[in-house]
Subunit: 335 residues, 2 copies
């Protein structure tokens, strides 16, 4: 498919117009547009403009409030809570960010508990900016029931990603963003289209029996956690941290059947931010660099986040890459 | 092998005498004995009295200071640092515990960064007591280079466990303790003895090539992280949190070649403790219970920690189970 290139700011601007026209406030549009354009810029294709139809059908369904104003609550010296008001998680994070930063710098560690929120994006954009300011950040978000707990037969957990960012001397931050499911739903769809089998331990059929057939996973089946019972334990932790602790819904608790077209999980998100300047010994960012060098010397060719930064640099030179058809579709949404 | 049963307090008392006689202070002996006896009581065989020879050879080698007095440093309102003084991590945690609890309750979240420490035990005993007091706790400890990072060929990470504990209404806390390696070294040894192959993705040979032969893993080879690149990313996070942030050594940084018999990794440990009472909505422990019920309804038969609590209850009725030979060995150490 022919590829278009658009300067990042123009893509943000186009997406902002789309969100505003399709049911969000100016403030929400600005945050979501920047988030979505950043994913597209960095080559996170599954979280870039690919997500626009899902955002719009969700807004049209009345499932999420595109005009929600997050309410920031100062719960304790290290604890910020945000009620997203049935809006998106990213504007809620934005609303509480300065307070969270102040608390983390003053106390050495602080957390933000977002509830009543919808997260439909990659998780790394939520943590990377903290590491760019020299802080360590850990985020967890639960989603919608599609993952069977280890030893179980019915889906319960979401894909429940964990994302982590740490500053790195002389380089962009070290950032990972990993789903606790063995595979993403999109990749199961691709395997089905290509007639390929899934590796063992990735999915179950409608009866909860293990299967390598992607069609069976898609037709009433479900995903499995990555790494067996260990990934399952981590997914459980994400439910407890992102939902129980914040006051959000577990991934199996919300019912969107009255909102056809709704795609965004109504749950919660937890962020923990640490100021490594309170730690001991050598400069933290230098220590990160020591570890990265050692990983490289041990033969690990690519560090977490490397691909994103490479794509980002290319996008800064040439513009953000988009399929021509996608760009035409996006422009049509504001005509 | 015939089994002996010893009341928990008598086992603690015996182990305390052993530690004192073999090079620790009274204070250190008390903490290590309770820790080791608890693991034995709960059926964590690989971290029970099985570890005593390793503790003693390490103490005899001069690698660790059994008389170290941990120094607690109040770095920030939410940040406790402890210099373990080249002693064990558990007495360091004990020394800072009250300050950490106060900080967590006052701020909603707090951390303890232990450095210059040796951790040779299970990690769950470090977090479970916080959950018993209604708090959520997360701990990470790095160890010694024996795990190859994803895509690499040389060992670099430790087995780097992550442990998590959360209160559960009407039940003992929900606790998991998982190594980020695909398998424990002990299990590789067992497979080798029994002439069994390892599953794919568990180990590499001395050249860094994947192998299912346990002998090749043991003879100059190494382990792989669990769950491929995802487990590797988590293991990297443990290095950054437990070592870089605390001021401890990375798993590949210490050189114990001058101390034959040394078995304990000289690294660091990080604990994060959260007070869920600062969170929103329903009572956290009730929410944990809701999730556990849902996991059970989804077919997950056993919850994290279940086996330990069952063994603990049995030990409370019948005494702690030990092999007769082990008990004879232990008693011989104080004669």
């Amino acid at each position: 498919m022919p590829e278009a290139r658009l300067p990042f700011d123009q893509l943000v601007s186009l997406l902002t117009s789309i969100f505003r026209k399709h049911g969000t406030s100016d403030a929400v549009a600005a945050v979501l547009a920047h988030n979505c354009a950043s994913a597209q810029r960095d080559g996170s294709d599954s979280h870039g403009v690919f997500r626009i139809p899902g955002y719009l059908s969700t807004l049209a369904s009345g499932w999420v409030d595109g005009h929600a104003r997050p309410e920031v609550e100062d719960r304790a010296p290290g604890f910020v809570a945000v009620d997203a008001g049935n809006g998106f998680a990213q504007p809620a994070l934005e609303a509480g960010r300065e307070l969270l930063l102040d608390k983390a710098r003053h106390n050495g560690i602080a957390l933000m508990a977002i509830r009543n929120s919808h997260h439909f994006a990659a998780l790394w954009p939520d943590v990377e900016p903290f590491a760019s300011e020299g802080l360590v950040a850990l985020a967890m978000v639960n989603s919608m029931a599609c993952v069977v707990p280890a030893g179980g037969r019915k889906p319960l957990f979401g894909t429940n990603p964990i994302s982590f960012a740490a500053p790195r001397a002389g380089h962009e931050p070290l950032v990972f963003d990993l789903a606790t499911s063995a595979i993403a739903h999109g990749d199961v769809q691709i395997a089905a289209k290509e007639g390929k089998k899934l590796p063992e331990g990735y999915g179950v059929d409608a009866d909860g029996n293990p299967t390598c057939d992607p069609e069976k996973v898609l037709n009433g089946g479900a995903l499995l956690p990555f790494g067996g019972y260990k990934g399952s334990a981590l997914s459980m932790m994400v439910e407890l941290m992102a939902a129980a602790l914040t006051g959000g819904n577990f991934s199996f608790e919300f019912d969107w059947s009255g909102h056809p077209g709704a795609k965004t999980p109504w749950t919660g998100e937890l962020l923990i931010v640490i100021d490594p300047a309170c730690g001991a010994g050598s400069d933290f960012a230098e220590r990160t660099e020591t570890l990265v060098q050692a990983m490289s010397d041990a033969g690990q060719q690519r560090q977490p986040g490397d691909r994103r930064y490479r794509q980002r640099a290319e996008a800064q030179r040439l513009g953000v890459a988009l399929k021509e058809d996608d760009l035409t579709y996006l422009r049509g949404l504001v005509d």
